[in-house]
């Protein structure tokens, strides 16, 4: 026999409450091959791999490892059999160094039980050299970029001498460069006799790296193909069950008046202790998708945080034009009823209101000068001790827009956003698909229904006098579930933690797109999604654009940028270095700007 099967899965079935995740799946993994597992979000790929790794027990079916029937009850069994897994969300201790993380659970000890990390350092360095990994073993995980963290995970498996490696959507969190590096290391690994099972729904990666591919659809196995004998079209058809447009057909963009104008925006990041966005100015017009391209960590995240209010603006202006949020004016409901009582009441409150505002006005003056006085005072005192050193600049303080002028922005018309709270921005028409879905986007312990109204629960549709209308919420959730094809075990009642990553992302996208706000800020909206879902979301975004809304898209994937954008802005090192028309540019040109090799004069562009 030419091939040796290292793993054979036979007739595996597994069901969860309300859903059959795996239905009679068989799969073989040969020695030294890269076997891709392809399927839609929630097709059961992760479940199958978790069964192989011992996180779940199968309801039916058998697992043969190296020709022997084995029962894998827990991850320790799997490790003993030489199976290792890199999870989509890494299982690393953030505040430990790479070395500590690698030896965790298999610590090298001397006879007295003291740690001997020096013993393994040499082995690890050899491994790094062999597989061409550049990992600093003494760096803490929290300081590492994501690609390097993944290398640590792989080293962890190699150190435990695992021969069968499972990668659960390894490329979902990586930048294009890191993906290339990963592909290269995977090839090297198989040359060394390791076998790799690789979950993905990015067709180009599968075509590039895998030897064979198995396709799952809604828990069922559709068969295994030789990668060389197939093509992306066929794979996507098998996976989704219909033909998918890989390149999007879209109408001509008809931009109108600007909706969002940003002028000289500066953002200071207090964690990194530096200014991460310098002098950024641009606008987004109605009926237009503006895309911000760039390599991760060049200030896009901070720019979006500043726009949505998660981070403070140091200086500059953010203006949202033609806001219409009348439904949130508190006494809107009362205005319509024009009875006698109402009039009297209004007169009383008006009088009181004037008195109150007089009072506030006085107070705000006193407070303003009080603060200013102390600032100057402390500054003077501080400068006394700084003789000879550089004096603190008073302009730093004057850059701030006086608080009084920008608070109480109207709900109708042009609005300055820079000092408003997140809720105030939300209400005026900014929706935001966040970058980190587990951190900002979802409350994992809530059910789907509550997550679908996470930032609209105060809307008059879902509450009355502060009491939630659970039935209306349920109805709305069911609408969204069918409209955006969110799959889960128990529908609106399923806990979001139990849903697959792609469907979690779909839920966020559904929530934000369905608000139909004039401005949508989407950061990596299709991260970790399959071809079918990406297509659907792109269509929804385009529909939103065509109906006259503005979209600001931040993406790391050039393919998506070129596919979707009407205008591309490239961001490098906190500044906008170029503006392009997607039809007249190429990935190579963008790449030059993204890496900082070339730049245009910003003021000339805008």
């Amino acid at each position: 026999m030419k091939y040796e099967n290292v793993i054979e899965l036979k007739h595996i079935s597994k069901s969860f409450p309300g859903i059959k995740a795996n239905d009679d799946i068989s799969l073989t993994l040969r020695k030294g091959e890269i076997h891709a597992l392809l399927g839609e979000n929630g097709a059961g790929k992760s479940t199958l791999m978790s069964i192989l790794f011992g996180l779940y027990e199968p309801d039916e079916g058998e697992i043969y490892v190296n020709g022997k029937k084995s029962e894998i009850r827990n991850p320790n069994d799997a490790t003993r059999l030489g199976i290792g897994m890199v999870h989509q969300h890494f299982k690393l201790v953030e505040c430990y160094t790479a070395l500590q993380n690698i030896i965790l659970g298999a610590e090298p000890c001397n006879k007295l039980g003291f740690l001997q990390p020096k013993k393994v350092r040499q082995t690890l360095e050899d491994l790094c050299k062999k597989f061409n990994f550049r990992v600093n073993l003494d760096e803490k995980i929290e300081d590492m970029p994501v690609g390097e963290q993944q290398k640590v995970e792989i080293l962890k498996m190699l150190y435990r001498e695992n021969d069968i490696l499972i990668f659960d959507e390894p490329t979902a969190v990586l930048t294009p460069q890191e993906i290339d590096e990963l592909m290269e290391s995977m090839r090297v690994l198989t040359k060394e006799g390791k076998s790799i099972l690789f979950i993905s729904h990015k067709l180009n990666e599968i075509m590039a790296v895998s030897d064979r591919v198995t396709i799952l659809q809604r828990g069922k196995c559709l068969g295994t193909l030789e990668t060389k004998k197939t093509n992306p079209q066929e794979l996507s058809r098998l996976m989704v069950g219909r033909d998918v447009e890989l390149v999007l057909q879209k109408e001509e963009c008809k931009p109108g008046k600007p909706i969002l104008t940003i002028k000289n925006l500066n953002v200071y990041n207090s964690e990194k202790k530096k200014e991460v966005v310098h002098n950024v100015s641009f606008n987004v017009r109605t009926g237009e998708i503006v895309c911000i391209a760039g390599i991760e960590g060049n200030g896009q995240t901070d720019l979006v945080y500043a726009l949505t209010g998660l981070e403070k603006v140091k200086s500059g202006e953010i203006v949202l034009h033609n806001v219409n949020a009348e439904k949130y004016i508190k006494n809107n409901r009362l205005d319509k009823k024009n009875n006698a009582f109402q009039k009297v009441w209004e007169k009383i409150t008006f009088g009181l209101g004037i008195a109150w505002y007089d009072f506030l006005f006085g107070c705000s003056f006193i407070w303003y000068y009080f603060k200013k006085f102390f600032k100057v005072l402390f500054n003077k005192i501080g400068n006394l001790f700084r003789k000879g050193k550089k004096e603190l600049q008073m302009e730093e303080f004057q850059k701030y827009v006086p608080y009084k002028e920008v608070k109480n922005q109207p709900l109708v018309g042009d609005v300055h956003l820079e000092r408003l709270s997140i809720r105030e921005r939300n209400v005026r028409g900014v929706s935001h698909i966040p970058e980190d879905r587990h951190k900002h986007g979802l409350v994992l312990d809530f059910n789907l229904r509550d997550n679908l109204v996470l930032d609209t629960y105060f809307d008059p549709r879902f509450q009355k006098f502060g009491f939630l209308k659970n039935k209306d919420k349920e109805k709305y959730a069911n609408e969204l579930i069918s409209k955006y094809d969110i799959r889960s075990g128990k529908g609106a009642q399923s806990i979001v933690r139990s849903m697959s990553g792609g469907n979690q992302q779909k839920a966020i996208v559904a929530r934000e797109l369905d608000r139909e706000t004039p401005l949508l800020i989407a950061v990596q909206p299709t991260r970790g999604l399959d071809v079918g879902a990406i297509e659907a979301i792109h269509r929804h975004i385009l529909r939103s654009r065509d109906s006259g809304n503005a979209v600001l898209l931040v993406s790391l994937e050039l393919e998506e940028v070129l596919n979707l954008a009407d205008r591309i802005l490239v961001m490098y090192n906190g500044e906008i270095v170029g503006q392009f028309n997607p039809k007249e540019t190429s990935p190579n040109e963008l790449g030059l700007y993204m890496s900082g090799a070339k730049r245009d004069d910003v003021n000339a562009i805008l």
Binding site: T308, L310, I422, R423, P434, H440, V443, F446, D455, L468
Partner: protein, 393 residues
């Protein structure tokens, strides 16, 4: 697959119905987990009794279970002791929805009790006293809340500090601030008993004179709190902030407001609890204002175990506080039943072991959840139907 699992697979119907029900209603699951943990707690207590004096263990177990229900007087006693406990447990549980541990409950109970008794002694009626107690508790709860929200001071730390500050402030006020007619003549370190008009009116159930209006008020508060938590936007915000702080920031929840309000409301509940501790209709206990003994009230801390056993569910607080008082009621008869084989130390030990194990109920919830998820692929009592359908095809 072991024997148990395969037995289940073959269709042990009651179990199947049970798991299905558990999956549908998480509240039911918690209830079952609570009951299981109480039973195991009682068994652990029995084991201790077996070790101490095997011959009395059987009687002892029966006493533990039945004493509370044996006479209306004892049951009534257990109920009226449970009333303030419900509220202090609720105070802890409410703050815990926001992942805040309101250890300041003790101080809030103390100040609430002191203020309401003074109010009652100066002639107010019972309702006014209760409100005053609640308000004072709210103010005491506001302080750690404000510090937490504005300056991110750990609420446990500031809660403990506020406890002691209030304790000594009461000592100072007691010495210089209140008329001597408020103080007990025989022992001036105590306040006078709260006057008849300021005590909670008895419900007049025959045999249970101790059961007062307080029970109804406590139940109403429990219902209000659970409605606030489950049905209002405020409760939604609280739970969201408790579960994922970043997501609530993202959705624009005013966290400062949530934190301050949660701890203030929690303080108000504790303050009302303080009033109820010293205002039962029969002969209320006297409040010791003198701070020379350097010990805080234990009643506030009882709330922690109440809320733990109830897994922070407002409705669960009713049952868990009843459990605690019923078991304490058995303490005395345990001594007599065993002819003194279990003396006061042992009965304390047994009582606390039962409570300790009962507080592990969240562990049983986890266990049940795992068991249910394993066995509820398709509801097993529908399995027969499915097979039949397949055959028809």
């Amino acid at each position: 697959m072991n024997k148990f699992t395969s037995a289940v697979k073959k269709g042990f119907r009651p179990f199947a119905v049970f798991t299905h029900f558990c999956n549908k209603k998480p509240g039911f699951r918690s209830l079952i987990a609570g009951i299981i943990s109480v039973i195991i707690g009682l068994l652990c207590g029995t084991v201790v009794m077996l070790i101490l004096s095997p011959s009395h263990a059987g009687v002892g177990l029966w006493t533990l279970i039945s004493t509370g229900f044996s006479t209306p007087e004892l049951f009534g006693r257990a109920v009226y002791q449970a009333i303030p406990m419900i509220l202090s447990g609720l105070a802890i549980a409410f703050a815990f929805k926001l992942n805040l541990f309101n250890i300041g409950v003790t101080g809030q109970v103390t100040i609430g009790a002191f203020a309401s008794i003074c109010c009652g002694l100066s002639g107010a009626n019972w309702f006014v006293c209760m409100i005053v107690g609640g308000l004072c508790g709210a103010v005491a709860g506001f302080i750690p809340g404000f510090l937490k929200a504005k300056f991110n001071v750990n609420e446990v730390l500031s809660g403990i500090m506020v406890n002691w500050v209030l304790y000594y402030i009461i000592g100072i006020i007691g010495r210089i601030g209140i008329p001597s007619s408020f103080k007990d003549r025989a022992t001036p370190s105590e306040l006078m008993m709260i006057p008849e008009a300021a005590r909670m009116p008895s419900l007049g159930i025959p045999g249970m004179t101790g059961v007062s209006v307080g029970l109804i008020i406590a139940l109403i508060i429990v219902v209000i709190i659970s409605i606030v938590l489950n049905r209002t936007t405020f409760g939604f915000e609280l739970k969201m902030t408790g579960r994922n702080k970043f997501a609530s920031t993202y959705s624009g929840v005013n966290q400062t407001k949530s934190i301050i309000l949660a701890l203030t409301i929690s303080g108000a509940l504790a303050g009302i609890c303080g009033y109820m501790l010293y205002a039962e209709p029969g002969t209320p206990t006297k409040f010791v204002w003198d701070s020379s003994s350097n010990t805080l009230l234990a009643d506030g801390f009882n709330g922690i175990s109440v809320s733990l056993i109830a897994q922070n569910s407002p409705i669960g607080c009713i049952f868990s506080s009843l459990l605690l008082t019923l078991i304490s009621a058995a303490q005395n008869s345990l001594k007599t039943v065993s002819n003194g084989a279990y003396n006061i130390h042992y009965t304390e030990l047994i009582k606390n072991i039962v409570i300790y194990v009962a507080a592990l109920s969240s562990f049983f919830v986890m266990l049940l959840t795992r068991l249910n998820e394993k066995h509820d692929g398709i509801p097993y009592f529908n399995r027969g139907k499915e097979v039949a359908l397949k055959k028809e095809e």
